[in-house]
Each structure stands twice: as C-alpha cells, then as structure tokens.
C-alpha cells in the first residue's frame, strides 16, 4: 500500500518556480531518497508536501487527499519531518524535546510513550547521557540525533528527513546513516532528501533525481548508484565534498 502519493506538485515563490509537476510515491516500509544538487527544489518539495509553502497538485496520505494541510495537523497523524536546521527547543532539556515530539499522542492519551522514550534512548545512548542538558548546548551531531529522536517520538508512519548530514563531520554522518538503516530495518517508512547522494542511494530502496525543479530520473537505489549520469553529476564531486567538509 502506498503511504504517500504526490501528483503533479508545483511550488512557486513569486515568479520563481522551485518545483514543477513532480510526482512520487512512497510504499509502506520503503526507504525513498530524493537527490539533486543545491537549489534543485528538494527542500521545497518536502515543504510543499507538508503545506508549509503554497503548492498546487495533489497529495494523498494513507489513501486520503490532503487539500488544506498544516505541519501540526500532519505530525498528529504520523507524517513527521526532521527539518534541515533541526529546529530544536534549544533552551529546553533534551528529554523535554523528546517528550514534546509525542505531544499529539499525549493529547490523545495514548499509551506506550514512556516505552518509546526508552527505545529512542537505546537508539541514541548519547541522548540518555545528556537527558537533563539543554538541547542548544549539544554538538551538531548530537542535535541531529535529538531531532531524529524527537520525530520518532511521534511514532511516524512516514518519516521525512531534510538533509540530515548537512554540516556534520563524516564520522557523524556515518553514524546517522547507520541509525537510518536500523530504522529502515525496523520497518519505519522513510523519505530522505540528501545532497550526499552516495550514502542516500546505498540506504534507499528507490531514488528520485531532481534537477532545476523537475524529476529527471527515478529507479532502484542500486541502479542509480551505478548509473553513469548520476555518477558524473553527483557522485564524482563526492571526493571534493568530503575533503571540504
């Protein structure tokens, strides 16, 4: 069953069309990646799906059409995004950040929130060590883990990740991707937007390649990884990126 179906999505900022007629689908349990260069419209696509920016086209989630959508409404039904800048509650404790990720579940008086907290702590032991610390005082990598942990506390049916590797040291990036692999193995459905195409394609079942707001390629992750055009456009620059970062 498809968890998410996006048809003909377009996002405009004034005169600039950031995304043009994009369609994609995510089936249950899949890990999907959306790759492309800077400014290709990857983040705009996620924002359009979440209703954070004006977008035309249709979005079906769990078989229902989402016409008027807001991120707070979607988080409550399990469509949760880990944003590019993490957007943590910097002056609040790590544990409070995690608990707030489950806010809609508290509102519904759901059970199992404490158990999920234990689970997130087992995925990220660093967060357990720092549970009383203020979120803003942690390192970039730890903050990224917290942002992912907070999203997991919502028990997402579909987890959107916007460039989780951005600005992190290579070792931390590997750690983050190891965790994403673990989440995938546990059956969490993932839609990952990344510039780090190699790691993203290794993780993903399927991938979409976005260029200047349009889809130019799609296929299985392993196929795209060895596709000459992808290698030339995205993977060739990886050595330079790694040296720079």
């Amino acid at each position: 069953m498809n968890i998410l179906e996006v048809e003909n999505l377009s996002v405009r900022y004034g005169a600039v069309e950031a995304v043009r007629g994009l369609s994609l689908r995510v089936a249950e349990g899949e890990a999907i990646t959306l790759i492309g260069p800077n400014g290709a419209g990857k983040s705009s696509t996620l924002k359009g799906i979440l209703g954070l920016v004006q977008a035309s086209g249709t979005v079906h989630y769990l078989g229902e059409t989402l016409s008027r959508r807001t991120p707070e409404m979607l988080a409550a039904v399990g469509l949760v995004m880990v944003p590019e800048k993490r957007e943590l509650f910097a002056s609040m404790a790590v544990e409070d950040n995690l608990l707030l990720g489950a806010f809609p579940r508290f509102q519904r008086r759901e059970r199992g929130i404490r158990e999920d907290l234990e689970w997130v702590y087992s995925l990220f032991p660093r967060l357990l060590e720092r549970r009383r610390q203020l979120a803003g005082t942690m390192s970039g990598g730890e903050q990224q883990m917290l942002a992912i942990g907070r999203a997991l506390m919502a028990r997402p049916k579909l987890l959107l990740l916007d460039e989780p590797s951005l600005g992190l040291a290579p070792l931390i990036v590997q750690e983050i991707f190891r965790i994403l692999g673990e989440l995938k193995a546990r059956g969490v459905t993932i839609l990952l937007v990344e510039q780090n195409a190699r790691m993203a394609l290794k993780l993903a079942d399927r991938g979409y390649v976005l260029e200047a707001g349009e889809l130019v390629m799609e296929g299985r992750g392993s196929e795209l990884l060895y596709d000459p055009r992808v290698i030339e456009s995205y993977l060739g620059i990886r050595t330079r990126e790694a040296a720079g970062g």
Binding site: T70, P71, E72, M73, A75, A76, V80, M81, P83, R86, E87, L88, F89, A90, S91, M92, D96, L99, L100, G101, F103, P104, F106, R150, A151, A154
Partner: protein, 343 residues
Amino acid sequence: MDWAIFSFLAADALQNGTIYALLALSLVLVFAVTRVILVPLGEFLVYAPLTYVWFLPPEVSGLNLRGQIPGTAWLAAAMLAGWAFLERKSLRRAGLLALGSLGVLGLAWWGAQGVPLWLGWFLAVLVVLPIGPASYRLFFEPAKNASVLTYLIIAVGLHFAFMGLGLVFFGPEQFRLPAVWSGQTQVGLVPINNQAFLVYGFAFLSALGLYLFFSRSIYGKALRACAVNRYGARLSGISPSQAGYVSFSIATLIACVSGMLLAPLISPAYFQGFLLGLKGFVAGILGGLVSYPLAALGALLVGAMESWAAFQASAYKDAIVFALLLPILFWRSLRSQELGEEE
C-alpha cells in the same frame, strides 16, 4: 525620610509592584507564545470588577441598576458569536461557541438578578474571561505571521476600543467595591489592608502555578516550545493557534482575578486599566518580554519607584515611572548586541 514614612512607602510599593508583576507575567506569557504585546490587558483587569458592580445588591453598591445586564456580557457574547461564525465549517465547535455566547448572557442575567456576593464575584470573572481568547481569534489569528509591529498596532487599536466601550458600559465614575477580606492588620508601623494580603497570596499562587505548569505539565512545556521555536513546535504537532488561545486565556484570567482583588483598594473606573497595564509593560521590558523572573523584579522596581516618586514629586509620579523605560531600553540594547540576533 524617616523610618515610618519609609515603611509606608515600602508597603505601598509592594502592593502596587505585586499587581504590576502579575500583569508583567501575563504580558510576557502572551508575547513569548504569540508575539503579541497585549496592550488591552489593563482593560480586562478593570472590566471584571466593574462587571461585579452590576452584580452587587443595591444596598452594597449604592446604585439602582434594576437588574441590568452589564455591557461586558453583551461584548463577550457578541465576540463569542463572532468566533462561532468564523468556525462555521465545524458544526460542533460553532455550536459550542454559540452555546457559550448564550451561556455568558445567562450568567450575567443570573448575576444581575441579585446573587450572594461570593457568587457574583465568580460570575463577574466568568463573564469577562471569554473576551481574552475571543480577541485572539477575532483580531490576531486572522493576521497570521504578521510582524510584531502589526500585532502592536492591532493591540493598541483594541485597547482604545475596549477603553471606549468601558466608558459606554460603566460611565465615567469610580465605584466602591466591598472587600473580600475587610479590616486592617498592623505590620510593624504600617497598617495593611487585609485585602492586600489576598493580592499577595494570589500573586504567589499564580507564580507557583505557572512554574509548575511550565516545568511539569506537557501542555505547559508545549507552550514554552511554541515560544522557543514556533516552527519546531509545529513540526512536533503543537498548534501555535491553540497555544495562542491558552496563553490569552491564562493572561486574561490572571488580569481578571488581579482586578477583582485590587478593586476594593483602588475604586476602579473604566480608564484605570491602561496605566496599570502600561506599568506592567515597563516591568516586562526589563526582562525583554521573555524572562519571567526579570519581569517580576522589574515590577517591584516599578512599584518602588512609583511610591518614592509619589512621595517626593507626586505630580510627576507617572512620568518618573515611564522615564524608567529609557535606562532599561538602553541596558537592553547593549545586552542584545552582545547576544546577537535572537530570531
């Protein structure tokens, strides 16, 4: 200045400072969550006791109001009806709001028929309370994502409207209200009105209550989250507009109860809310409208300054208090440069 005068001034400073602190806490709460500087908070403060006057039996109030429903009830009912209209797409919510609108009129009618003093006291608070969150829905929520300045302009407009309506509803005169706890207690040299102790008690309970709410309850933490990072809160499923209703409701409740407790000490009139609110604002500014402890400290400072000025140069009392803004803003601007961009 001898010891006796100092004690009197200190008692006066503490009483006024406590009220300013309550207002400052409310202003900080509303600003942190919604970016609205709630200028009409002072109007809410005087609306409640003035409404209470209409619920008093004639032998207590000395007025013959012949069971009139106070204007605030009509205002609250009209605003709730407007809110219901805006929510017309959700029949259940619109119905509840319409019921609430009728309920307010019902309560006011009941109060006006002559009820025991204590019941009238609670009815007055209940009648005025909906005006706060309804103001948010009707005037601030439609201007979503507006700048702080736009919100401020709306808030100032609302303040003038509510003050004018206060004059229409209650007339220009001051009213004497019965104390909840009458009499005085001698503390050292100074006789203190027992009613003032109720103000202190309420201030203490509100501060404690807010502290527990923000540190223990997930709903309180969600409000803080909205204040710290609005976008992050939305992504976590916390609705900023719901947080707005909650913060407006808490602020209005604190203002109404403060007004009810303060009223017997000041004999309220429609115009008094603004100065009280403005002094609460000066106090809140000390904490940059984000820090609760600094706001409370600022409130005591404003109270102290005011009573000292009232003694030394009473004609300039308010001018001296508002002149406090200058050093405070100067200090804040130096500090915020050190911190850099806060957004």
